[in-house]
Symmetry: C2
Subunit: 402 residues, 2 copies
């Protein structure tokens, strides 16, 4: 039983956070965040698979190998990607300064940057921001930290739950940023989860990998896989539950479910805040021969600009949906394929079905819409989440500053 609670990423015991205005963003909003665990925390993370991975990603990949982190330092407004040796030196400097200010080892710090690609960090501003953020670390700082990781996001994405492990109350929370350049491949955008659960690093990684594969890796906004995607979870054990270090422990399953719930909520929020989004689309492909085939077909639908613009136009253009399934590379037999939108069956055995037009119009006018394709071939299924393609998407991305 997960009970939603307030308090964001500092609601789990032993976590502090801060977000400050360092002047990196042109808007003047918060742009440097520090998240800190008062004791070293078991940690796991997944990163972008983009070959142009940003300097902070390359550095953080090294730091996470130890399985223990004490802090996360993030800046927005500049991605520190495609910045070569200078970029790597800057990422290292961010870590070094944070480590000195917190008196912890640099190896226990994860660093992220998000924003424009190809520009080096304004390190004087970044340094001043880190200094200020560390000085402001508090339980109340969760909201400012959330603000500081946002770029084109229009609302904050945060969630916190309480549940019980062996009778002890345990909290788990997370924040994420998204909006554009969202198409996960192994990991996606920035997501940070904190928990006071007591769990070993290897099991934390196992739980994170599974959760990400079914949540963050099942969303797409525009098909672009960012250079900076990072999802990280810190578990500092302050809840006092018995250490979870066996995947067969029922507490592991409870924890893994809680983590997946946090990831699913955040991933869906990222889609809801997709650049220019007016619709939230849940696309399920069932009757597939494998999860991978189902995912391939569902992602093909979710990525199709023709499908996305049709939903924006509230047009149940099912031909475009079947067309996207047809070129997805998944096994498909037209005569076995059916399709329902918002519970209204509009294709049966590959052909247009009779349906209640008024009902379908109502479905298409809603903000949340489900699309279910049944391939009729097997027992597996996959669900992905995406948004529509609107004028606003073009506006945001045509006018984003370089």
């Amino acid at each position: 039983m997960l009970k939603p609670i307030t308090g964001g990423i500092t609601s789990p015991k032993g976590f502090l956070a801060a977000g400050v205005k360092a002047g990196i963003k042109q808007s003047g909003k918060e742009d440097v965040a520090v998240i800190y665990s008062v004791v070293p925390a078991a940690a796991a993370a997944v990163f972008t698979t983009n070959d142009m991975a940003a300097a902070p990603v390359i550095l953080s990949r090294e730091h996470i190998k130890g399985g223990v982190l004490s802090a996360i330092v993030v800046n927005s407004g500049c991605a520190n990607a495609c910045t070569g040796e200078q970029g790597m030196a800057d990422a290292q400097e961010m870590v070094k300064q944070t480590a000195e200010l917190l008196s912890i080892s640099p190896q226990t710090i994860l660093v992220s940057s998000t924003g424009i690609i190809g520009v080096t960090l304004p390190m004087a501003k970044v340094s001043a921001g880190i200094q200020q953020a560390v000085s402001k670390l508090s339980v109340e700082g969760y909201d400012n930290a959330m603000q500081a990781i946002m770029t084109t996001d229009t609302f904050a994405k945060t969630i916190a739950y309480e549940f019980k492990l062996g009778g002890m109350p345990v909290r788990i929370a997370g924040i994420a940023k998204g909006a554009g350049m969202i198409h996960p491949n192994m990991a996606t955008m920035l997501g940070y989860m904190t928990t006071d659960a007591n769990i070993s690093s290897p099991l934390l990684k196992q739980a994170l990998d599974k959760a990400v594969s079914l949540t963050f890796n099942m969303i797409t906004v525009d098909g672009d896989t960012s250079t900076n995607d990072t999802v990280c979870v810190l578990a500092n054990g302050q809840a006092g539950n018995a250490l979870i270090d066996d995947a067969a422990d029922p507490d592991y399953l409870l924890f893994a479910e809680a983590l997946q719930s946090v990831c699913r909520y955040l991933a869906q929020q990222v889609v809801r805040d997709g650049e220019g989004a007016t619709k939230f689309l849940e696309i399920t492909v069932k009757g597939a021969l494998s999860f991978e085939q189902g995912k391939k077909a569902a992602m093909s639908i979710a990525k199709s600009p023709l499908v996305k613009t049709a939903f924006f136009g509230q047009d149940p253009n099912w031909g475009r949906i079947l067309c996207a399934v047809g070129y997805s590379g998944s096994n498909v037999q037209p005569a076995r394929t059916s399709l329902a939108i918002g519970g209204v069956t509009i294709v049966e055995a590959g052909l247009g079905a009779r349906y209640d037009e008024a009902l379908l119009r109502k479905v298409m006018s809603e903000k949340d819409i489900t699309v279910v394709v049944d391939l009729g071939l097997g027992q597996e299924e996959a669900t992905v989440w995406t948004c529509d393609f609107s004028y606003e998407y073009v506006k945001i991305n045509g006018e984003y500053h370089t």
Copy 2:
């Protein structure tokens, strides 16, 4: 030496065409076309790889096996795709009626449909249209035939050349339709070429495959591979040149080059008329380890909504371009990668270079823009063509009727 000539697809000797208004399109414009060779012509074609291939594609795949065609019958306004057994019966009926009216074998007819998916053909209108079109076949009918294959196209795409084979003047011409659902995979949209060259079917197919792989298969508008893509060439031998039936014959190379020129022109015109396009982008990836890797990287750039909206906004956002190369799956080493837009080098060794900002602004404001990425890894290269993503793209596809 290719000499551009007038007269469209009926400029090669022995071809007649017609396009008529059958009332299939809501707009009331031309929607049934017939192209006819007065003698059986060697023929070759390539079709969509979409598993939801339309009925006319399935039927035409059978008919092209003989390597000989006498006529092509096309309707626009309805794609006859995802229409099951009724769709197949309707495609067969179109062929049967055309065959009877022209007194030719049904097996020598290629049939195509384009337009909305999932709706069956209004056969009474189609039949009347075929009857009228056959009765109007003429050398002057090329323009109406062109009009009749268009859907959301905003201009006609047609080209005709004259060149010499063994001293004999030979003509080759083509028409194409495109605009939306354009992302070739083996073949793309509708393209029909006529020539009075005398060439064997197998060599015609060889020349067509190569031409398509370097032209129609190198364009993308929106990444969607249609259910109806068809490219077909008829060679009726009326020019009287000596039969080309040996790939080592210099005339074969001359013919293949002419065919490729026609295909390249038409493919580029399809991109120029991409739905909502305001820019024509030629994207070359060189220094690749193979043509396939170069194509993968170039297509990744060409398909990225973030890149396409940036060009619409006239923003030289090179981070998005390198990001798209990074997730393309092509081999890439950031420190070896360089990038030039419109001849202005803006990335060297993976880092932003100094450049003339005024010059780059001028480049970005032009309609035709070249993008050249050098991976610095090998000797191979690939060039693709695409357009930008504009408000108009969203408008056209959000409001297209279902």
